[in-house]
Structure formats: structure tokens, C-alpha cells
Subunit: 357 residues, 2 copies
DNA sequence: CTGAAAGCGCTAACAC
DNA sequence: GTGTTAGCGCTTTCAG
């Protein structure tokens, strides 16, 4: 009742054990006829090569690890898509993907895992601008690649979202709608100074784009909450009453902004346009109107990361791939032509009723 | 430069290869003294057992697979937490977790993967009420357990959210606040009739609880979008003007309901209370006010699923574990005392301004 | 083009 | 208590 072995297949096909192996892996030419007999025997027995035995003998497990940090709040649909895309790609290429969730500083643990020789390579997710895991992996000598990238990228393959291009596309789109006063709403300042790549790069991108388009770059940091978003929005509009469009990099805050706008009596997109950067469809469609967003190709990123790693594993001296993938603009209901700021309601609350105890 | 083997450890410690093995696994008593020498040699060499070799020899890979369906829209933070919780638990117990994303009907593929003898057991996620994967796994004879459960649960271990209890807790909480007209907002009817467990069980739970509390069970199906939520809400209030509280099982729709309420001039929670079932903190805090929610212990569920499976693997005849875990009530800003329905604004739009082209 | 046989690094009898 | 050794199922020389 146990799984058939290669020997059984060989017997059934009247060939040597090794011939079955060669036929299976194409490591050596096998005559058409015997290949057929072997293939037949294999299907009749429902044979599947024993992954562990194969790995032990060949010194290649065909297993790769996905290294991702312990869940911070703020992980959601996008990150799940990364993981799924990676797992699907691996599966499609005949590999298995194991999950190694790990504190970003638990470098000892990482080393232990690598030494078990279970995996051929490692895919690192959520790379920080200054990431100690990278140095360790290089030191250990395990093949690896990254989704995301450290500040100084050297000789490691990576894929990442092209935050600058993404920001540029968002701004360009808004400018095309006639907006001239565009503000950028970032994550909290702590994330920025801690070197959180997306925050840093999107901010840099925005300043660059705005400046080169002849606009004044207006930016705000903002805590990751609806409440903070609402507050920062009020503050922003007070300081810059002419702002007609927002580019946001902070989903909870974006939700708060919409509430704040509505409370002011502003309509979206009539009085204010919003483009939410790096937002999944799932989140973008939770608001009314739904958010025009720059949507990351998350599954694609996961897929590319895995492909890059496996190619490196199978073809030792392959050229380095370092690829940036911009988000895609999905126009929904939160953007429209620029209004005349002067025509917008001025009162702080557009609600017609006062709260009753 | 290659990893040290057990033989090297044995030499360094002046013992037989097997003694190292026994010391490592505790499979056989080893004297305190030799154990120490061995341990010392191991740490000096930085020895880590070779996972594949160990697995091949012992016929136990210490790898388990997490089977989850290809991403439908609607997978988000909660599901990621399942996965992470499972991976962390596995790691903590000395196991590895591989990801097998798979169409729920791709049963052939599943069989192939299992036959590779890579994994000792399988953890099935997102189990449907009528799930063909279950029957196949049982047939193959692989040990497995589930997160979620089919309609007829027999002799397989599982953990699942206790939807009935969760619904009961939500209703009880609202009743305690004085609400008497409570409506349930479900997912789309298609999901329900297709046998989507959470939808079916929560609905059943609601009817049961409402009835036994002497309330009229009011329910609505609703598409998973903010727009649909707003529409269904209008419809619901038209039909049942006395409803003062909503129990929802549909996040995008819940967001729409809040917009709809606000458009009507209703304040939350003054004019309407909302409890969102099975919602993560991340989502619940995106609204203003933030949503009072029944939050699933997702990581815990993933963890329990893995523990259950591994215990089954290590201790052949262990008693069956079938555990239901209720969500936890997290009170935020969307719930309050029941208002007098008659005092609420009646006009359909509370906004003071008409859209201008 | 095909076979025979030596490992891969470890576990688990079987000896003492 | 410890040592010796036969595999686990496969890949890959080395012969033919």
C-alpha cells in the first residue's frame, strides 16, 4: 500500500533502475522505445518521485523559503497576494515554497534554518532599507533574491514596486485632469525615518515629480488611522486652501480624509480628487465613491521573485535581474476634473444636525 | 566549507555516529557525560541535522502542507494571519510549513503532491460545506486536519470559528444596549446557496438567537460592495424603519451602510449601531467611527490547526480534537444605546448641497 | 544507448 | 550504556 519506488517502475519496464532515473530527468539520452515503456509503467503505478530521496542524492531539494517578517499591523491583501503569487510560481516550476516567518532581527534563527540544508534558496520579503538579513544571507552563501530592496543595491537580484514611477503616474494623471495644487499624504514620520522603503521612495518620487512639473510639493506625514487622516486633512486644507487633489500612501488615513471631506461638505471627486497609492482593489472598493488607485501587481511581484531565484539556482552564472514594476492606475470614482477651490464649501461641518446626547 | 555531518560530530566527540543520533533525538538513553561531549562538538561545528537525510531515513519529513484555495477576492488580513499563525506554530514545533495554493477542484494535483512523500500531513484551509478535497485526502490516507469544517463532520480534527456563538455574542451585546430591532446583513445570496460555511452558519446563528431572544429575525443578503451595502441599507430601513442596530457579515457592505446612514443624516452610533462580524482590527479601524467588531483569533486558529495536526502525527492514537473558537468582541465607536427610532432624521439625504455638474 | 554500484546523511534495528 | 551496520529512494559516476 506504500508508494511505488523507482525500482518497481524499472522492473515493470524491464530496465535498470538508473535508466528510469535518466528517463525521468532527461539527464542522459534514452531511446524513444524504452522511454515509452518506462513512462507507461510509471503511470500504471501512479509513480511520483520521492522528493526527499531525490533531494538527498542530488543535493538539490527543490524547496525554497519565503522569509517574511512577523506580521506588523498593516499587512493585508497585498502581502497575501505576494505570498500566493510566489507559492504558485514555485509550484509551477516544480518547486515547493516553505514559509519562514521571522522577526527581522532574529538572524540566528535564520542561520539555523539555512544550515538544515532543507532549502536551495531564499526569497526575502519586505526588505528594509538597512536590512541585516541581507548581509547574513550573503555571508552564509545561500542563493537568495528579494522582493523590495535595501538602500544600496549591489549584486543581488530583486523585484520591487517602482514607487517613483507609480507616484509620477498618479501625479501626471491628476495634472491631466487640471489639478495644480496637489498634496502628498505619507505614512507616519516614524516609518519614514526608520527607513521604510515605500514611504521614503514615494516621498522622494513625489517631490521630484511635483518640482519637475512646476508644482509646489506639499507633503504631510500622518499616522495610520482614519482619525489621524481626518485631522491631518483639516490641517492641510487650513494651510493650503487651494489644494484640489491628494496623492495618498496610507489607506486608513485616506479613509479618514474622505470622512473629513464629507464632514466639510465637500464631495468627492467634485471638490477634491484622491489617488491612493499601492492600494489593492479590495481596499479601494470599500469607500464611496470607490478610490481611484495605483494598484500593485502583487502576485506578479511574488511570481517574479520566485522565478528570479529559481533561474539563479538552475543556471549558476545567469545575469542579474533587478526589476522595478510600477503600479497600475485603476480609475474609479475618487478623481475628477479640478474644481475652482473658491466655490467649495467653507464651513467646517456640512452636517445639518447636532449630536444629541 | 560545506555543512558538517553527523560523522564529523561523532569523531570530534569520540563516539559512534549512532550515539550522536541517539543523543540528538533522545531515542535512547545516553550518559550525561557523552551527551555533553557531543553537544559541545555540535555547537563548535555549528552542526544542524540535514533535514532531507533525516526525513529519508526516518520516513518523517517534519514538513506539513497548508492547502488553501486560489485567492478569491475577499482574502485579506484575516487569511494572512491564519497562514502566519500556522507557519509560526509549525516552526515552533520543529516543523516546516509548505504552501500549496490550489484550485479547490484540482484534486488530481493534490494527489500528485501528496505522493511525493514530501509532507507528513496536510492542513486544509477554507473548507467548504461540501468539499471534495476532504474525501480525497481521506482516501489517500494522509493525516490531515482542517481550519473550518464541512457540513457533516465525522472523524477528522478541526478548528473553526464558532459563528453561532459569535453571532449570539454580538446580538446579546446589542440587546444589552437596549436594541430590540436588530437586522442581520449577510454576504450575497450566491455565497450562501453555494454553501459558504461562515455565511450559512452565521445566518443560522442569527435566526436562532434572535428568535430565542424574542426578536423578529430580519435578514438581508447583500453583494460584497459598498454600493450594494448602501442600497440594501436603504431598502432595509424602508421596510423596517424601527431597526436600530445592524449585525453585519460583509465588510465592504458595512462601509456602504455607514455612508448610507451618513447620507440620511444619521449619526453612528447615535442613530444606528453596527457590529461587524469576523472583522480584523485593521479593517474595523478604517471607518469613522471605528467599528465595534467581533474579531477572529486568526493566528490562534492557524496555530491550533497545526498543533492538532502535528499531535496527530506524533502520537498515532490521539483523541480527536474538534474545537470551535468564538470571535472576541472589541467595542469601538459604532455601537451605543438604542435610540428612539422616531427621533431620527427622515429625509433621504442629509447633505446640504446638491451635486453640481 | 544501457547497467551496476557507490554513495547522499541520517535512523533504527541488531549486537555487545 | 555504546558501537556496527543495513537500509531510506534516489542520482550519478564508472563500465560496457
Amino acid at each position: 500500500m506504500s508508494a511505488p519506488t523507482m525500482l518497481e517502475v524499472a522492473k515493470k519496464a524491464n530496465v535498470a533502475l538508473s535508466t528510469v532515473s535518466y528517463a525521468l530527468n532527461g539527464t542522459r539520452p534514452v531511446s524513444e522505445e524504452t522511454r515509452l515503456r518506462i513512462w507507461q509503467a510509471m503511470t500504471e503505478l501512479g509513480y511520483q518521485p520521492h522528493a526527499l530521496a531525490r533531494g538527498l542524492a542530488s543535493k538539490r531539494s527543490r524547496i525554497i523559503a519565503l522569509l517574511f517578517p512577523a506580521l506588523p499591523r498593516g499587512f493585508g491583501a497585498t502581502e497575501l497576494e505576494f505570498v500566493t503569487g510566489a507559492a504558485e510560481a514555485a509550484q509551477g516550476m516544480g518547486y515547493h515554497l516553505v514559509l519562514w516567518p521571522m522577526e527581522i532581527h532574529a538572524v540566528g534563527e535564520l542561520q539555523q534554518l539555512v544550515r538544515q540544508s532543507l532549502v536551495d534558496g531564499v526569497l526575502v520579503m519586505e526588505v528594509r532599507l538597512n536590512d541585516e538579513r541581507i548581509e547574513l544571507l550573503r555571508q552564509i552563501g545561500v542563493p537568495f533574491s528579494m522582493i523590495g530592496r535595501p538602500a544600496a543595491v549591489s549584486d543581488i537580484g530583486f523585484v520591487d514596486i517602482d514607487f517613483e514611477q507609480t507616484t509620477r503616474d498618479a501625479v501626471t494623471y491628476l495634472v491631466g485632469l487640471g489639478h495644480r495644487q496637489i498634496a502628498f499624504l505619507n505614512h507616519a514620520e516614524e516609518a519614514f525615518t526608520a527607513g521604510y522603503g515605500p514611504s521614503v521612495r514615494a516621498a522622494a518620487g513625489f517631490n521630484l515629480v511635483a518640482t519637475s512639473a512646476g508644482l509646489t510639493p506639499i507633503s504631510r506625514f500622518c499616522g495610520d488611522s482614519a482619525m489621524a487622516g481626518q485631522d491631518v486633512f483639516e490641517d492641510l486644507i487650513a494651510a493650503h486652501p487651494d489644494v484640489t487633489a491628494l496623492v495618498t500612501m496610507n489607506e486608513p488615513a485616506t479613509f479618514g480624509v474622505m470622512q473629513g471631506a464629507s464632514r466639510r461638505g465637500w464631495r468627492i471627486p467634485d471638490d477634491l480628487s484622491i489617488v491612493s497609492l499601492v492600494s489593492s482593489a479590495r481596499v479601494a472598493e470599500m469607500t464611496l465613491p470607490p478610490l481611484t488607485a495605483m494598484t500593485p501587481q502583487s502576485a506578479q511581484l511574488g511570481r517574479l521573485g520566485v522565478e528570479m531565484l529559481i533561474e539563479q539556482l538552475e543556471d549558476g552564472n545567469r545575469e542579474l535581474v533587478q526589476q522595478l514594476l510600477p503600479c497600475r492606475l485603476v480609475i474609479r470614482g475618487s478623481t475628477g476634473p479640478s474644481p475652482d477651490p473658491a466655490t467649495r464649501p467653507h464651513q467646517k461641518s456640512g452636517s445639518s444636525r447636532v449630536a444629541t446626547g
